[in-house]
Amino acid sequence: MKKLSAMSKMYLIFVFAVLYAPIFYLIFYSFNSGGSMNNFESFTLEHYAAVFEDSRLIIILLNTVLVALLSGLIATIIGTLGAIGIVSIKDKKMRNTLLSLNNVLIVSPDVVIGASFLILFTMIGVKLGFASVLVSHVAFSVPIVVLMVLPKLLEMNTSLIDAARDLGATKRDVLMRVILPYISPGIFAGFFMALTYSLDDFAVTFFVTGNGFSTLSVEIYSMARAGISLTINAISGLVFAVTVLIVIGYYFINKRSKSVATGGHR
């Protein structure tokens, strides 16, 4: 790659500074022993301690992670099978229609999805809470997984499937031994995307939650409305750390599967 000029370097630094400054500002004050974000008095971990002492917060945190993991998992399964289904459709028009429908779901605003789920759940009489949140998270994650898996499937040479059949593989063998291993990087990417989307979703969850069930983003929102407390900063700091960890984990998984695909270990 060509070396960046000084100007473009400056510009990049500026952009990233603007993007990350509020986050670091927030995390910085999470260590402030003074009760506000006005002046930094001295370093303390008491806000973090407060987070961990607050059993309600811990339960909410666990809820959030559980919903993210479960919805990510379910969405990955549904989305992967869906992508395989879409690719196997021979009729071009039908296939493109399905793909467009999938993409519409991705770009449609969370508010619309949230509101429509709220209407749906109240109409069929589902109690709002864990189940409704889970279902709606699965729903908005599936199209994302489809989108991540699809390129891998399209890239796969169809003669690989013929070759497997030729060697005696049943349809099930073909799926388990050829298609799934081949598209696994896409599946992982889809799972991690679903995970992050679920973790930080606010709008959809806000609509469909109830019965005392809450996730972190909704909780932070209501805490922030109630008044500033540095506990929010501490939670945000923790969430940020987890996000960074997920990104790093994703990076390594991706790198490993790539080196397997291209035979990296010479």
């Binding site: 070759a163 030729d166 060697l167 049943t170 031994r177 291993p181 695909a261 291209t262 010479r266």
Partner: protein, 366 residues
């Protein structure tokens, strides 16, 4: 014992959009022979292989395997393995696992898998390459992995779809020898697809020449080379001089403004025919001694021989392969034996062609 392993009866293939890819294909393949499907690209060679392997259904007609109809047997239950044109090796598996794939599907015991895979790799000169990733293998090696993956299953028939077309000339020639030798060692039926006539002539026991979804001619390489059935086959197989002619009577043919003695017969008197003379059957001599008198237009040195392009008074081009040099622009004579003339009737079917050849046999040919 019946030696037929695969039989096609009136097989046709057309697609929904109306394209007819195969028109009434009939053939019988014997066990343990090397067959080649030869034809220009798009003539339906791959389609025939795919019908044998079971990836594609014939639109009409029957496919028999060991005497049993197998149109409805799914691909994974056929005693056939394929070496694909693009090899279709599994990129997520290493060389050993690629070769072992079929055996694992069949739940063969681990120790036996190990033995058989090692043996197959040794067969294709890749012993010790088991732990390599596919991406670490060269084109020629990948091709051999693909062959090992097919033979390790011990199928009765191996289908090879232009497996050498991606290789450079030197490697291709080497692999032609290796493949032919491999087939003879294994004693399996090979069905080999190519659009390269030299490859087909070099390797096959029997060649099927295809064009536009039809078998134009089948036979041994020598038969097809010496006695092409029509202009298409003569032109496609090797270099040839093809001119219009008139069959005066049996053993007497007229072309290039003269009458010649020949060894063909069985046509109507004064029937219009095509005449083929191979460039290597023409010999340069003095104009007085030549049966044809031609002017040398160009001359190329081809290593073993000179390739001359010459024209007679009627404007027919005559290609000559000669060990002797000639002068460009000079008038020379061309001499040839009556046996060198091969006469082809227009639109003769293969059955009629064979019958006529038998009747007016080429005793003096062999």
């Amino acid at each position: 014992m019946n030696n037929t392993i695969i039989r096609f009866e009136n097989v046709t293939k057309s697609y929904d959009d109306g394209t007819v890819v195969l028109k009434n294909i009939n053939f019988e393949l014997e066990r343990g022979k090397f067959y080649t499907l030869l034809g220009p690209s798009g003539c339906g060679k791959t389609t025939i292989l795919r019908i044998i392997a079971g990836f594609t259904d014939a639109s009409t007609g029957d496919v028999f395997f060991n005497g049993k109809r197998m149109n409805d047997v799914p691909a994974n239950e056929r005693q056939v393995n394929t070496v694909f044109q693009d090899y279709a090796l599994f990129p997520h598996l290493n060389v050993f696992e690629n070769v072992a794939f079929g055996l694992r599907i069949k739940k063969v015991k681990e120790t036996e898998i190990n033995d058989r895979v090692q043996e197959a790799l040794k067969f294709v000169n890749l012993a010790g390459y088991g732990n390599r990733e596919i991406s670490e293998m060269s084109g020629g090696q990948r091709q051999r992995v693909a062959i090992a993956r097919a033979i390790v299953n011990d199928p009765e028939v191996i289908l090879l779809d232009e497996p050498l077309s991606a290789l450079d000339l030197k490697l291709r020639t080497e692999m032609q020898y290796e493949l032919r030798e491999l087939q003879q060692r294994l004693g399996k039926t090979f069905i080999f697809v190519t659009h390269d006539q030299e490859e087909a002539l070099a390797m096959s026991d029997e060649i099927f020449v295809l064009s536009n979804g039809e078998i134009k001619q089948s036979g041994t390489p020598v038969d097809i080379y010496d006695e092409p059935i029509n202009r298409f086959v003569a032109d496609f197989i090797g270099e040839s001089n093809i001119v219009d002619g008139l069959m005066i009577e049996d053993y007497k043919v007229r072309f290039a403004g003269k009458e010649f003695e020949c060894v063909d017969g069985g046509m109507k008197p004064n029937e219009k025919i095509d005449v083929v003379i191979r460039p290597e059957d023409l010999e340069i001599t003095t104009p007085e001694n030549g049966k044809l008198i031609v002017t040398v237009d160009t001359q190329l040195f081809r290593g073993v021989h000179y390739e001359l392009s010459t024209y007679d008074q009627d404007g027919n081009e005559w290609l000559v392969h000669s060990l002797k040099k000639a002068d460009v622009g000079a008038e020379i004579g061309l001499d040839f034996d009556p046996e060198a003339i091969h006469v082809m009737r227009l639109n003769e079917t293969e059955a009629d062609f064979d019958k006529r050849l038998e009747a007016y046999g080429d005793e003096d040919y062999e």
